[in-house]
Each structure stands twice: as C-alpha cells, then as structure tokens.
Symmetry: D2
Subunit: 379 residues, 4 copies
C-alpha cells in the first residue's frame, strides 16, 4: 500500500540533525504506518556543509535561509534543531505558515518565549511535538505503564540525576558552533535547560505536576575563552544544579545535574519509590529496567533486572528478538513513529509544546530559586 508522504524540512544539521534524520530514514523499515517521512530539504547557513549533510542523509534539496524553507509549498513539517535562542522565531514563522512543527528540546529560552510558541501553534492548529526523546526508551515507557497500572501504589519519592564530566577542563572554551551550550546567550541556561529539562519532562510524565522547588546552582569555572569574541569572558551558565521539590501527589523529588561528575559520560538515572513497588533506570544501560515488587514472596524478593527486549515490552515488537538490545538512536525513531501514528489518528503527539511549557516553567522556577535562595511555586 502506498504511503502518504510527510515532507520534512530540517533546520540545523548538528548532533540532533543527525539523530532526527536517522529517525525519519529508518521508521518505515520498522513500523507499518500510513505516513512515511520524505527528506525534502535541510537548511543551514554554511552552504558547503549543508550540501554535504544533504548528500550523506539523502535530503533532496538544501536551503541557507530558514525563512525560505518555511514558505516552501513542498514542505509539510519543520524540524527545529538550532540552538535554543532561535527556537521561538522559527516556530512562530512555521506556525504562521501552517507547518507542523517538531522542535528540539528545551522548547524555549524561558517561559515567556514558550508561552508565545504555545499560543502560536494552538492558534494555527498545527500538529506539534518536542523531542524529549527519553520518554521513548522502551524501559522508560515500561516504567510509565507500570506506574499507570497501579503496580507501585502511592508514590513517596522520585529522584533523578543527569551527570556528565565533559567540561571539567578549564581550557575548554565557550560559545560558537560546537560549544553554544556553554553560552547562556545561545542556550538560555546551562545544565538546567540542557539536562534537567530531560529529567523534569520524564518526571512530570511519570509522576505528575510539581508544586514547588528549592534549588542551588554553581558555576565552577568562572571564566572561559569565548569562541565568538576570542576573549576570556565570564561564564554565564550553570555548571551544576540541584533541586528539591514537592509533587502534587504528595511525593518528594530530588534532582541533580552537573557536567563535573568525573566518570559519568551521560548518566541519566531515575528512581521511583512507591508503596508497593519501586523502579530504577539509567541511560548508560538504557535497555534495562530495575524493578522491585514487595508483593513477591519474601525469601526470593529482590530487585529484578529486566532486559527490556521482549516483543510484549514497549516498541520491542518492531525490532529484533529477545536478548538483542537497541540503543540511543531508537528513541528518536520511536518519536517519529508516534508522531506519524498521531497524525494518522488525528491526535496530539506528546510532549506537545503545551506539555513542554510545563517543563519550562519548572526550569524557570528552579533558576529563580537558585538566585533567591527561597522556595518557588511553579505557577
């Protein structure tokens, strides 16, 4: 049966440009859906580089001005993979042009921008989603199933960490194409928007809304050479951020993120403790879910290491056979598949811009609390 094409226009070809492109290219080999992505155009300022990218990934055409891309008639959906400070402008224009939008996370530089973006897509009535990809790790989706099924009972504790170690060297510069994440002007914040935003998105999906927060941030290296100016400049991002919080359901939350945790490359961990059961997950072994069920017979009770590769576990009937693991890139393929399925069903594909706005509000409360030293309500 012939597929309906979903013609993609990608803005930005960095790391996320690769993960998204791979998602578009692979989804139809593994998922039987009405829609199939077509790699119509990729856009970036450097013409030579964008052409090379297009050739490597099979994009049919290129643009060097995103405004031109957005108005093209042969594009159905705009995928925003730029640094954070361009999200709003592109999203607003794309919505105005009636395009669907798939926006890389975090949604925006701050809540105010996010609200404009939500208003724009909702007014335009265009399908929209934000690439909080970790929801679609099969083990994390399984965690969601278990919580929703009531297996954990009342939740008491939620904790999540996102630990990295790649900015410890004081010789690392900030800013520019490769290091815009170290520049608050391009990124909005440091680990809060980059890493904690992931933890928060998963947390509110699994455990509901957060009521209030108390946070602490730190910038360990105070000055770094800036790639755009060539001068040593003050570092404006947060290198590390921790916060305590209370969820609406009465449970306590504890979150931490840093790029100064020697030995951890990208260790996103989460744990949920419920009255009847608990679960744990970490990104370094993403294909496993740890699960403890107090209902097990006492003498053989213990944490189970679930190798999430069976066909009855989320997404896994689309892949290989039990015991054979998938990896990081598959989370993006799953998000494409779910976006296409939602399109087919006429439903939203979470997290939508509106869903992602909640994460933005929590990030803002966290940063405000860290400055003021007081508890902040998530408005």
């Amino acid at each position: 049966m012939a597929k309906k094409p979903l013609r993609i226009g990608l803005v930005g070809y960095g790391f996320m440009g690769r993960t998204h492109s791979n998602g578009y290219r692979k989804v139809s080999n593994f998922f039987d859906l009405e829609y199939s992505p077509v790699l119509k155009a990729v856009c970036a300022r450097d013409e030579a580089k964008v052409k090379a990218f297009a050739e490597q990934w099979g994009y049919e055409s290129t643009e060097t001005d995103w405004r031109k891309l957005i108005v093209r008639d042969d594009i159905d959906a705009i995928d925003i993979c730029t640094p954070n400070n361009l999200h709003k402008e592109i999203a607003l224009a794309a919505a105005a042009a009636g395009k669907m939008i798939l926006c890389e996370k975090p949604l925006s530089m701050n809540t105010a921008e996010g609200e404009e973006m939500v208003a724009a897509v909702e007014k335009a009535g265009v399908p929209n989603t934000v690439w909080y990809n970790y929801r679609r790790v099969p083990a994390v989706t399984l965690a969601k199933q278990l919580i929703d099924s009531g297996k954990l009972g009342k939740i008491f504790h939620y904790r999540a960490n996102f630990l990295q170690d790649w900015t410890i060297s004081a010789d690392l510069p900030q800013g520019g194409a490769a290091l815009w994440r170290l520049d608050a002007a391009a990124a909005g914040s440091g680990v809060t928007g980059d890493l904690l935003a992931h933890c928060i998105d998963t947390a509110i999906w699994l455990n509901g809304s957060i009521k209030n927060v108390s946070a602490m941030t730190e910038t360990f290296i105070k000055e770094r050479k800036h790639n755009l100016t060539g001068k040593v400049e003050k570092v404006s991002i947060d290198d590390a951020c921790a916060f305590m919080c209370r969820f609406d359901n009465g449970s306590l939350g504890l979150f931490e993120s840093t790029r100064y945790a020697r030995g951890h490359k990208a260790l996103y961990t989460l744990e949920v403790n419920g009255e009847k059961a608990s679960l744990k997950w970490d990104l370094h072994d993403l294909h496993r879910l740890q699960y403890f069920d107090h209902g097990d017979e006492g003498i053989v009770r213990g944490w189970r290491s679930i190798h999430v590769t069976d066909g009855d576990q989320p997404y896994m009937d689309h892949w290989w056979v039990p015991g054979l693991q998938i990896g990081y890139e598959h989370t993006f393929i799953h998000q494409v598949a779910d976006f296409l399925q939602a399109l087919q069903d006429g439903k939203p594909c979470p997290p939508t811009f509106r869903d992602a706005l909640e994460t933005q509000k929590i990030c803002d409360a966290v940063l405000t609390s860290a400055k003021s030293g007081t508890w902040q309500n998530v408005e």
Copy 2:
C-alpha cells in the same frame, strides 16, 4: 605477653548492645594490642533480660541502675547504648566519675545537649568516642585514604543517601522499647538523627566542613498508635529528609534519607566526584569500592569495582585472605581496635564527642531549615 584489661560497663542491651559486645569479644583474636576488653558488667532495667544477655555474651555481672554501674571501681569505660534521650545524663555522670566513654550515635538529642557533653568529657579529660561505625568499613576507610592522597583532586560533588523501607505500613505503632526511633521524645528526630547523621559524619570526615544547608522533611504517616500510651497519636518524627549544602571546600552536597524507599533495606550510598577521580560506595555491598580514575588510558577507562579484601587495604590484614569478605559487624570490631590503639598511643579516637558535635550542629541546621524553608548556616 599479658594484656592490660579495659573493663567495660555497658548500658543498654538492644541491637547496639549486641554489636558492641561482639566487638569487645572478638577484637583480641584478630588485633595484637596492649589492651584487651573485659566484659565486666551490663546494665538495664529488666533484671531477667539483662541477666540472660550477660550469660549469652559473657558479662561477669549485671546492674539495673546505670548510676550504680557508673560509680563501680572495677569499671574503666562506660558504653552508652540507650535511646538518645538518655545519652546526656549518663555521659555527664560517667565523665564526672572519671570513666572513659564510648557513646552510641547520634551524640545527643540536639546541639545544646551535645555542647554540655563535650564540655564534660573535655573537663574530665576522659577518652571518648562516638560509634559512627561506617567510617571503619574498609572500603570507606580506603575512600578516605584515596581522597587524602590527592587522587581525586579538587572535589566538586558529594552525594549520599540512606534509604530504608521498614515503616511504610500504617499499622506499625510508634514508641516503646522496640520502636523508640519513631518517637521524637526518645529519638530527638526521625531519619535525620538516625540515618542522615551517619551520612553527615562520613561526609565531613571525607570532605570537610559544611557551610550551609537547605532542607525539606516529610512525615508521610501522620498518626500512629503509640506503644506507651496505647492511643493513636501524632507522629512527631521526620519520615524523610533531604538537603542540599555547600561544603567549605566549594563542593556541593546532596543528601537524602527516608524509611519509605520500597526495596531498600539499609542502602547507605555515597559518591564523591573529584577533578581527577571519583568514588562510590554502598552499604548493601560494603566490601566493594567503585573507583574511576581519569588518569587511566582512555580506551580502557572505566569504573573499577574494587573488592576490598586484600591485606594492603585498610584493616584487611587482620582478617582472612583475598576474596573472602567481612560484614557489617566488623566495623564495630575495628572501632574497638582503634579505641584500644588510641589508648595505647595516648591519642584521641575519632570521632570524639567534639567531632560528633559538628554532626549534631548540621542536623540541627537541617531541621531548622526544613521548618523555615530557608538556607541555614551551620554556626
């Protein structure tokens, strides 16, 4: 060579009475020291039970009034294993009687009491120590060696958890002999004094003083039947406590403790991230230390799981052969050995009352912060 006796008078025969007695009985089989403990007397109010305990552990005599024990001429050292609300009174009397004191942790109900106790032992000039036993897990002592040797470099992060799950049932009563830890009148606080105090003692030993804290506490089950009154009464302890802090050395700390973490029996974990190396430890596999050394060659760099059972690792030349693990009870034997060695050397045996007072101050700041919702300096 004949040993010098150290004649012990033990007050209290509960769980800690057993761990300490085992320490006294075993130390001379495994450590060659000038002093050897003699189990002279054990004291508790229930005569039949204290006699049975004395018989099982080989105490030569019993008392039912600790005031009588303290003034006995044939006792050198008083070991305080009572609920926390009796520590001060006994310690003051013992110091006045010129006895050495080994006091179970936490030192006291609060800072004020602790200051009186420190003043008393320092005025009396009696050797004193507090049973923060986890310093003497060989893997933790090894962590101390590694940090002090500079292997980790500048410290960025310290995090510790102490997670249990034994009070989740709402049917569990509070108070009385077995459950005094759930009664603030006997315990002073809940998980803060019971569990976080351990985490704090280890933390300041490994990473130095804490400057300020911001904390959150929760009591999940608001009322429980009280064993002493037979009535349902308000639960006055903290079921869970988390806090963020800043250490004097500039590193950030994150601590959490709860008795509502389903699946964790006594999971004390700690992790330290330094510029050059990191380490992790947990009580459920106490004979292992996890260590990551950034100095290792890149392609074979990874977290090392060190099985701390070799003769060149702390305390282990006294035990078996490589590969054969020791357990929880050995931490108390080590503390006895170190106390005897300190006596022989005329030196203090840390943590002394003064050392333990610092932990008390931090606990107080934590509890104050949790009430006020503000950052508290550790005065």
Copy 3:
C-alpha cells in the same frame, strides 16, 4: 563525491534478511566510503511476501528463483540468508557467476561442504565474507585490540557460553519456515552450528587456533511435532553442547551452549584470562567490556566496567557521543562498512570463507567427539 554503487541481491528475507538490509541502508549515513550499497533485488519463493519485504526495505526489484537472481547483470554481490542447507548450492552458483558473496553463518552444513565453497570462491577470485557479526561489537573489537597489543600477556584461559531458553517447552514444534533451526536436515546441527559457531569464530579470532576438543551434547526433548510432516518425529539436533579444548598457544578453552538455560535470552559471554590482564564481555550488555589490569596500583585494583561509547574506541567515532549506546543491529552495519572498505583497499574482509571453514572444522570435531566420547584433533 559520487559513490560507487555496490548492487546487492539478497536471498532470503527472514530475521537475517532484515539485519543485513538495515546494514546496507544505514552504512552510508555513518561511514564515508567510496562504495555505497544499492538494494537491487531480493529473492524468495513467496512472491507476495517478497514484494512486501522489498517495499518495506526499498529493494528495487524481486525474484522468486535465486538462480535467476544470480545471473542478473545488475547485481554485484549475492547475500545468502537462507537456511544452512542451501548455502553451498547458492554460493557455488554465485561464485561461478563471478559475484561477490556475503554468506550468513555458519558457512555450511559441515566441513566437506565448506571446503567446496572455499575452493569455489578462491577459484573465482570473488570477494567473500561470512556474517560472524559479533566480531564487530565495538567492545569485542576492543578486546581484540587489547589482546593484540600484548596487554594481557600470555593467555591461560578462554571461556565462552551462549545460553538461551526459548525451546524449553515440549509443545514447541520443529521445522518449517520459522523453526528450521530445530531441524537438522535444514540446520545441520542444533546449538553447535547456531550458537557455538559464533563463540568459536570469536575465540579463534581473539586467541588463535584450537588443537583438539572433547565434547558432550544432549537432546533434552526427544520428540517434537514436525511442521513439515505434521507428525511427531525424533528431534535430530543437539539442544545443548559443551566442550573443552586446548588452543595452539597452550591455553585451555571451555565452551557451552544451550537453549535450556532458563532466564537467558541470548547470553553470549566470553572471558579471557592472561598473565597480566583479563577481560570479559556479554551480549546482554554488549556496549560494555569488563577489564582487569594487574598492573594497576594494588589498593585500587579492580575489574573496570568500560562503557565502550567513546570516539577513540572501535567504530564509535561514527556514532553518537560518549555515554550513548548503540545496539545489536550495528554489528551488521559495521560488517558492511568493513566489507566496503576492504573492497576499496583490494583486501579480503575477514572472516572470509576460508576463515569460517576453520570454525566449521571445529564444529565437526565437536560433534564427532560428542558421539565418540573421545578427544578429537581439529584436523
């Protein structure tokens, strides 16, 4: 730069047809090579199914008779993904037609067939390779690097297991499309050719030739319904096989495979013990290599868990960033990449048919030993 096409003709569209097709489709997105695969044709007997497969994977055309596929001028390379009993006939015809051959493992039903196949490709002078994909797990390739660099020193022990549990039920039938691996007429043998062949290929690659073997096999379920005849028939394959061996380098080997190890889905594990270092790997966490280096300082010596996701580790510069794992399917992409690179360089791509013949000889010696109860030399 325009790529040179490598026009693929795939025979068989089962599980391996999917893994290979995915390899061909993805390789050029991640590897910069002169050649790029073109999915020219796929061949299988069921016309409807083969057309559906072609559509899903983007094959340009289909065939239902492999003899027709082989003589097509627009095909450069034949990929054999059929049951084992067809490998020889197809390979001989493909070689005669001057096609390159990529043959799924094991090479053949037995040594005699394998020798014919080696003779055919060598006479024809066509590039050839056998899909022993586990060599190309980055952690396994890293193991090869470490051994070859001398880091392990003299090798004393090699042990490997391949444990599964999917045939425990006596109700499972044998034979036919889905279960030809349980039918010796189609598979040649049971776990020996299916699973141990993988272990043996890796072993001789890492540790050199095997001199002699002593083996034991078992068929736990003696009779199963046969899907082709509809009758209960004797099970002719080995359900489990273990063997001891001596390598030419003086080390001892121990191998085991079974489909009756409850709890293990596809647990391929290997361990190598050398004078100076040891290493371990398992397929259920394929992105990790365990490594112990006796040269480490004594007090911090331990098994390192290496998360093989850094750019300086084998193949990983082609994927994501440190900490983000790849999965099972990537091993096939790597083999395609290496085949294309070898083509570019005019070199063979191991394991060639000749390399794979050695594995076949060892499998035959194992099966002979199991029958005779005696040691067998690998001739």
Copy 4:
C-alpha cells in the same frame, strides 16, 4: 540454663585453625543451643607458635604431639586442620579413641584413604563432619531450599567455577608450611582437591549424584623451587582442571577451577538452570542470590538480586537486621551451630565422612579421566 560443654581439641593452627576457632568462640553468642564449645587444647609441632595461638584464641592448653591430644580424657571432639596427608592417620586414631571428629576438607588424599576413614568413624559410631563450609552460606542454603521446594522444576544445567590468580608468578615456590597446597605429596592434588572439591560438594548436595565425567588438567608452570628441599623441582599438582559431567537426574554439568584466572581472588560461582526457574551465586558477593522465575509476569520478568539478610532467610534470624551483611567466617559458625544442633538431636551433621567420600570419588574420577582422556564412571 547451663550449657553442656563440647570440649574441642584442635590439630593445626593455620588459616583453617583460625576460621574454626572463631566458629567455636562465637556460636553461643548468636545461637541458643544445649551445647557450647570449650576451647580445651590446640596442638601443633612448634611449641612457641602453638602457645601464642592458644593465647590469642583462648585455648586452655597446648600439645605438640597430636597422639597425646587424642587420648586426653578432657577432649570430646578432634578438629583436624592439618595438611591433607595427615587427615587419615589422625582420623583413624581419633575414631579409635572414641572422639567425635570435625575434619577439614577434602576428606582425604584419595578414595582409598577416604573409605578407610568412613569405615573407622562408622565402626566407632562417633559423630563426624567435614568442613565443606560453603553449604552454609545463607544464599547457598536458600538455593537448596528453592530447589528442594520444586521452584526450579526439572534441572537441565549445573555449572560451577572456582577461579583464583595467586600462583601466576613463576617465582612462587612450592611446599612447606605456607605453600603445601602446591605440593602433591601434602595436598594429594592441586585445584581439584582444593577448589573443585568445594564445587562438587555443593553440586551433589543441590543437584544429586554425578554419573560420569570427562576432564582436562594442566600444569602451567612446570617447575618451581621447593621450600623443603631448596631445589627446583617438577610441579606435581594440577594448576587448572575442567570437567564435563552428567548427573543422575539427566542434567549436564560443567566445572572449572584454576589458579591462573587473573583478576579473580576466590571467585566460586555456581548456576543452576531449571525448567521453571534458575539461580546463580558467587562467593565474591556471597550475601546475594540471583534468581529468575519464569512464572513472573512477562513484562516485568528479570533476574532478581536477592540480598539474603532477612530474618526469614536461612541463618539470618541469628544475626543483624535486614540489609546488613555477614561474611565468609560466618559459614564456619553455622557449621558449628549445626553440628551442636545435630548432637542435641542425635542426628548426623552433613556432610559426614560418608557424604564427603562421594566428593572424593568424583575427584578421583576427574583426575583419572584427565590422564586417560576418556570418560570415567563415578563408581
């Protein structure tokens, strides 16, 4: 209640002399039994050393000639901790003197000696036991309970390894007090009697009798300086031994032991695969049992890591609280406790000499098979 004394006479004060003495000293603190051991005498040839040992452990007296010890009226039980070549002579004399016997493992140098010893104790009617202590690791005892309860169903596979690395250096001498285990004249064999004997004892306890074996041994370092002669002499022990076997219940066994497995100090591992469940255990984390139950709901099925420290798990009601682990030495305390309980009940304390003789027969079959290269029945 006054305890009945069990007056111990210990022969040998090496490593096992310490573990047994510790067992005798601690048992009555933790187990309420009618009998209580009394450390009456210890015997060894070096008078100064044996006196020092007696003082350290609290033995009331010493002997330098075991024949004198055995005839003492004030001794009830002889504990044999000598090198293996003295077991038989001492045991025969002790039985003749009507003493109970606790003999260190392996029972004897070979089957013939073992048969004489069994005959002697059975003729004399004296209680007897052999210190295969690993049966009494709580996790291993729990494994026995699970298997006996039918939780695993029909057993398909049993595998066990005992891996060490302490003899890799060619500079290590053989023979004499510390290194008699490297001298076949004192030890009977190498790893087979030392390490595999443990694996075999546990195996036949858990999984029943072994029918036949096929084995391979190796001596990697062919010559070492001998401590008794001062000359370089041929090494007569097996450095490594592996064997395959069939159990009477139809399951397959695979065993391996070596002292050349770099990175493993004393890694005794065992795994049992049954139709319905499987279990695994290793000595380096002896307080854990890994358990997989196929009866668990599919999506949350996984290996459970059971922390065997709860009061309803074997032996653990005698120790601390959940989460607090015990260690290696406790296995000996458990064996003393079980011996005392058996005495109280008038029952044998397994493994008796007769039980241990079966292990001896399997060891002999293993060594014979390794020499002959053929399968050997266990007669």
